[in-house]
Amino acid sequence: MKFTVIKNIQKNSPMSLILRGFLLFILIYLISDIFVLKSSFGITFDGVNSTLFGNEELYIDAINEASFLEFWHTQIFFIMMILLTLSSIFIRVASMGRVILTNTLMLSAIISLISLPLAFYLSDFFTNIYVITYHLWHIIALIMILYALWKFNAASV
């Protein structure tokens, strides 16, 4: 987290290069995450509902509670680490809208993570909230990554 205390981070070429590389990897991770979840847990209302509650027509069994809790637990850890580092970098390079974007990103990610067990234990209504907020935080994270990369590139030219 040394980048949080370096003055004028965009002009510091080694740190700028390291962070650009890191942002690129977060970008790849988030895009890969969408494809992996699409083929496993689901990223649509029907897909997630089939995973959580099963689907007789498609012969899909509902996920068991232990597997669900393990999935939820690991998702929380990965998302918290990724969003902490991403938001810390974004805050250093962004001049306008950083508070609004960071709040929207974090709140949508937290709501998506909270709605997941609510969907599993309470009602499939929360699946809708999960899917919407899942896509929302991914889109905002992608915007933040691309904006930060653009700012780093603009400063290095």
Partner: protein, 146 residues
């Protein structure tokens, strides 16, 4: 500390609370919070058709947790360096206690499957101590960034 960084840290603390909730639910569901349920989970119970865990099976679960617990404790505790709490001796005690509780929580299962049933208590005790220390750290940080 920049005002905007407090935002990132605040949300990290919220995520940490969620992580703790999920860890407690997972522990309760898979192992249970009694001495007997911990023993049954690790050394099995023929009457209940619970298979015993092997040392290699435990190692597979332990492996990612060693890294994750260490990283999580490091990230959370290092935020305290930015507070006035860093100058206090209690900070050192908190650091030692967190890492020791984490170590015991992770490695107690190896002792249980080796025949040291007493370590079922150590497993439970270290889990709750770890949670308490993390919650205490979260509380200190919440107070600071408020």
């Amino acid at each position: 500390m920049q005002q905007a960084y407090k935002l990132s840290i605040f949300y990290f603390l919220v995520f940490s609370l969620l992580l703790i909730v999920s860890a407690v639910m997972l522990f309760e569901h898979k192992i249970g919070f009694s001495y007997n349920s911990v023993l049954e989970y690790y050394i099995g119970n023929e009457d209940k058709f619970i298979p015993a865990q092997s040392a290699s099976g435990i190692l597979k679960i332990v492996l990612p947790h060693v890294f994750v617990f260490g990283l999580f404790a490091m990230v959370l505790l290092h935020f305290l360096v930015f507070t006035e709490f860093k100058a206090k001796k209690a900070f050192l005690i908190l650091i030692y206690a967190t890492f020791i509780a984490t170590f015991l929580e992770i490695f107690a299962p190896f002792m249980i499957v080796s025949g040291w049933s007493f370590f079922a208590y150590i497993k439970l005790f270290s889990f709750f101590i770890f949670l308490a220390l993390i919650l205490f750290t979260l509380w200190l940080l919440f107070r600071k960034i408020r």
